[in-house]
């Protein structure tokens, strides 16, 4: 766990900090994520190398919950369900690991037109729902839906992720 922390701590803390914007909250989130990972270590399938993406998913999910609570919103009722998440990705090898070339991901994100990148970042890093994004940007909900989809599709093709 210690070596795992040494390997992923900066990345996990970076993500929590990016979402929450302050160190103490980010620390709490990262600690919680590592403990959850530790408790579920036996559920992870070593053959598929999912530790990194699972940990980052935990960090992201928890950080967004904290952010939403801060905004006075109810925390999500739908729990994080790694099984459901994995199920959808079960037929593809965990490509996240191969995508860890972060420059590639950043470039793919940066290369999106602003109108696609902005809602995508608001969803992922600010934890906003598509309804909230539509309100904040003053555009129709249907437009947000399609821009989120288009943005991810474009990144997918830039990153070479295939089914």
């Amino acid at each position: 766990m210690e070596r795992l922390y040494d390997r992923l701590g900066r990345q996990a803390f970076g993500l929590a900090y990016r979402i929450l914007g302050d160190a103490p909250s980010a620390e709490d989130v990262v600690q919680e994520a590592f403990l959850t990972l530790w408790r579920q270590a036996d559920r992870l399938d070593p053959a598929r190398g999912r530790v990194t993406s699972f940990l980052m998913t935990l960090v992201h999910h928890r950080a967004v919950d904290v952010l939403r609570a801060r905004r006075g919103q109810m925390a999500r009722q739908a729990p994080l369900d790694p099984a459901a998440v994995e199920q959808q990705g079960a037929d593809v090898p965990d490509k996240v690991a191969q995508l860890l070339a972060r420059d590639q991901v950043r470039m793919a994100l940066a290369s999106l037109p602003e109108e696609q990148r902005k809602p995508l970042e608001m969803a992922y890093f600010e934890g906003l729902t598509h309804i909230e994004i539509a309100k904040a940007l003053g555009i129709p909900l249907g437009t947000v839906k399609s821009r989120l989809r288009l943005g991810l599709d474009k990144m997918r093709s830039t990153l070479g992720v295939r089914i």
């Binding site: 990262v30 600690q31 070593p46 993406s53």
Partner: protein, 234 residues
Amino acid sequence: MDCQEVDELAGAYALGALPDDSLMALRDHLASCQRHPQIAALLVVARSLSVAAPEREPPPRLKARIMEAIRQELGSAEGVEEAPPEPPPLSWLRRRSRPRLAYALAAALAIAVLGLLSWNIYLQVSPGGGPHTLVRAFTDGGAATGRIIYLSDEKIAMITADGLAPLPADKTYQVWAITRNMPASIGLFNASQSGQAAAIIQVDLSEAQVVAITIEPSAGSPQPTTQPVLKARI
């Protein structure tokens, strides 16, 4: 929710941007519909965004905090172990020869899980496992399945199993390392009510050909007295 709506919402779903009611409806749909393979790719892309955030050095105290919290959880697991007859949720290995070794075993567990996880990462780079890690699936298990992971540098074997029959109080699972047809006991463990077990054993398996698990009287046996419920070739 129909297929068209699911496709429209796929981006928001992958990014975690759906309100609860839509999320539930979409998950329900996906549970019974195979027509949306592209969602897996969108999830992969959305998850890759986690590395788009700049890395940041956490304060040094965070590592200490996390390791301390793990130690405390291990400590409370020992506490359960000390209080029969209530079975612990995950039964850690009991060693017959040195029953007071709980603390050392907790440490071994920490090292082994660390090894497992680090190796996990290693696998991402090198499919097929590292030179110092051996992974074998148990067979002969009927409904039971399991796996042994052996870290040869650390001389630690980690056994996980599922689908084991919970045993009465006067029985235990016993693990044997079999070298040139000679079985040697390397530890005892119990399964949870749901049939799961995890055991960490500090043992040198470099000479062993087979690791087998049998059901024995609760104090363990000097030699196996029943047929193995699980067996792995090393």
